[in-house]
Symmetry: C3
Subunit: 139 residues, 3 copies
């Protein structure tokens, strides 16, 4: 059993940028040499999330619209009144969706569905340089 | 330390079928012989999720209603306009709820609450044969 | 590789109490002596969740408001009609947000963002004594 951790870097655009990071995560798993185990994909920070979706532009736009209903952009956030960041909506979205996804590894491969991709969702209202931690645990 | 993986199979019905899979997950943990560690319960695919709830018909119906508000069934999805699948709502629901749950194992048992069950939620608009990966890591 | 499990205890107040439990989780990781791996923070029970957020009172109030929209408190829950608990909304909230968060450990430290804290959210309509399981896996 061993633990292998790598950090991936992404430049994001403002307001719910959804990036397909599946191939990068698969590469970490491949480099780890692990045959079976699990991989944790975690974004440090309080205005971004990681989840899975079929990564095609229609479904991604549908997701963005649902997230906008969940925590609409706007001036009615206490966080913004206190700190003036104007990204209160981004904090709420990130807390609701959560910072990570965990995927099983078998035969050295991510056990995702054919149409299921791992995505980084950046909700912040400005361009960010994001780090995503990919940690594989197994043997 | 070791990793034990099993695949469970379920036949689901269309439109937010919620199945209690707790006993099946507990059986995998028992067969694994692990005393302590964690178990990842993961559904491959982009129109299903795994979470926990008190599995009684009232709470399950309440959950379905909340999910319907979150991403209502309907014709207004870009995914449907592009691909004609008419399951755009299912993709959004799955991305919001996430594909997995992870539960600690102690003394060879799932550390769930008394009224807390592991459920597979299938949001798709047709009957599906689902596979759920159960992966226990521990010693 | 080893597994270290500890149970934390919290007294909560009714109706979406949000507690910052980051320091307690960090202490478990420190006591475990693990340099790298991951830590699963899991709440047994079907009316509470664990997630991450910037723990400042504005963002916490914003989160509570979004959760109230997601599953409003009220008499329209089937769970309440059947069991009279009047906490149907709490079951739905817990199922939507999920019972756990998993955080990577590196150099013996939680790899959280600077403004990202681990929070226990108790949605129940009465004061509860909650247990939170903290399980570190690594080496």
């Amino acid at each position: 059993m061993k633990v292998v951790t790598e950090t991936l870097g992404y430049q994001t655009t403002p307001e719910t940028d959804v990036l397909n990071i599946t191939d990068d995560v698969a590469s970490v798993v491949e480099r780890s040499g692990l045959a079976c185990g699990l991989v944790l994909v975690f974004v440090p920070g309080s205005t971004a999330s990681v989840t899975t979706i079929e990564f095609e532009s229609g479904a991604v736009r549908d997701l963005k619209r649902a997230i906008e209903r969940l925590a609409p952009k706007g001036p009615a956030y206490e966080h913004d009144r206190r700190w003036g960041d104007m990204n209160g909506y981004a904090h709420v979205r990130a807390a609701l969706l959560g910072p990570s996804v965990t995927v099983p590894i078998s035969d050295g491969k991510l056990m995702l569905g054919t149409w299921q991709q791992i995505v980084l969702c950046d909700f912040d209202n400005r361009s960010r340089r994001r780090q995503v931690l990919v940690q594989a645990v197994g043997e």
